[in-house]
Symmetry: C2
Subunit: 255 residues, 2 copies
Amino acid sequence: MSTEGPSNYSSSQFRTPDGAPSDIVIFTITSTEKATAKKALPTRELQVLLIQRKQWPFEGQWALPGGFCRETESMYECALRELREEAGVTDMHMEYFNVYSKPGRDPRGWIISHAYFALVHEHRLLGRRADTDAADVRLFPVEEALRMELAFDHAGMVRDALEKVREKMLTTTIAREFLPDEFTISELYQVIQTVVPTFEERNFIRKITSTQSRQGIIEEVLDHAGEPKVSNRYSQRAAQLYRFTEYSPELSIYS
Amino acid sequence: MSTEGPSNYSSSQFRTPDGAPSDIVIFTITSTEKATAKKALPTRELQVLLIQRKQWPFEGQWALPGGFCRETESMYECALRELREEAGVTDMHMEYFNVYSKPGRDPRGWIISHAYFALVHEHRLLGRRADTDAADVRLFPVEEALRMELAFDHAGMVRDALEKVREKMLTTTIAREFLPDEFTISELYQVIQTVVPTFEERNFIRKITSTQSRQGIIEEVLDHAGEPKVSNRYSQRAAQLYRFTEYSPELSIYS
DNA sequence: GCAATAGTGTCTCTGAGACACTATGAG
DNA sequence: CTCATAGTGTCTCAGAGACACTATTGC
């Protein structure tokens, strides 16, 4: 297998892995309009995309999308490819978060899996889910997915991914991945709460808009005339629109 | 290689990786007493442990300690074993931080490396470094290591590990890994600054000891009589000793 | 006294947190 | 007039940040 070099190189005398796949935990937030005729904020729910396996092992069970890495690609490229092939998604936020290598985790042999999480805007998923039959690939509410018996050690991956995404939701600006470019404060607040149910800030609008130390995370959107741009999609009283800036604050427990 | 299952399982028709090693970036902080006869804080420096390679590839060049994973162990166990075998270190803080899988990164073949960083107290390293000849395993100041041409893509690993450790130094209580159980505020401040040179807080002692929102990270040490325990190791005026608690604050950019 | 570390006093101004209040406009 | 969303007014008290000041004690 070695491409070149002295013959005394000896790694080939040991057993080598039978595969190095990537598995991707794809999160999206679905919005459903409330039944009332009046303008109102939608109900949002955090969902995970799962695929029903068609072959051994774990045939018929739900699992994360993913697949084996090729020698010509990096692990990140592999995850991107699987995301495109299995879920039809491109151009999303994707991050590596852990390796799963416990002996015996895969009945097919010695297989070391690399787990990514991806955050996809609902519209991007909806577009493609019409293409294929939705019978074997579905969105599940996270709470439901956490209770399911998934293939391999995928249940642990979903749990770990969720923990990581919750942490990142509060410490970085990944909330932007679930929002349109221009959004209202209520939408942002809703998205944060959808991912982190325990999040509660009564004076949220003041902290995010007027606190000096946080200034710069988001900024007001102005229209072509230079006037503040507002939206009345969710309410009678029009709400100011904001967008994320490039700035991301550095947090510290010591300052 | 598959241990069981139907023969139509087909992963073996693809090429499999030639190895899945772990590499460990071992950080320590060295303390050297100042030359002045008077009591003073030591000079501290962040160091990285490197090993000089004895065989192809990159023979003679400096590299990170590490080695191939076995089928009977998890990647974390592999890193622990390499740490013990190559650097003689046990019982340290170790964290996984990234996978390196770019095709061609290792001339021996298709080798996907898993990078860990470890934080070790100086005393633990000193104990073992007397055992072996120090010619082929040495500590380098980080700044120097960053300028060296290391084997494989290890230079990138050192850079990434340092970035990660700097972030974690400010957002978690890993400073404890470089400190004795009981320490003074000055020692803590010095350790933070050694890892993150840009860190500066003029009123550090007040924030860490009297700010309500940070209360609970550290606590005063009391002696057997219940009186505050102090140390005059570094100064004429005795300083209060503190210890870390189990508490770790949750940071957020939104609250 | 000096040097080096360890702290305190005191000032200003920002901001956190609570809660009542006003604003908007379709149904 | 109601309802849901979108804000503002106003109060208190914590705490950030700056900088001068005191405390300790071997040399």
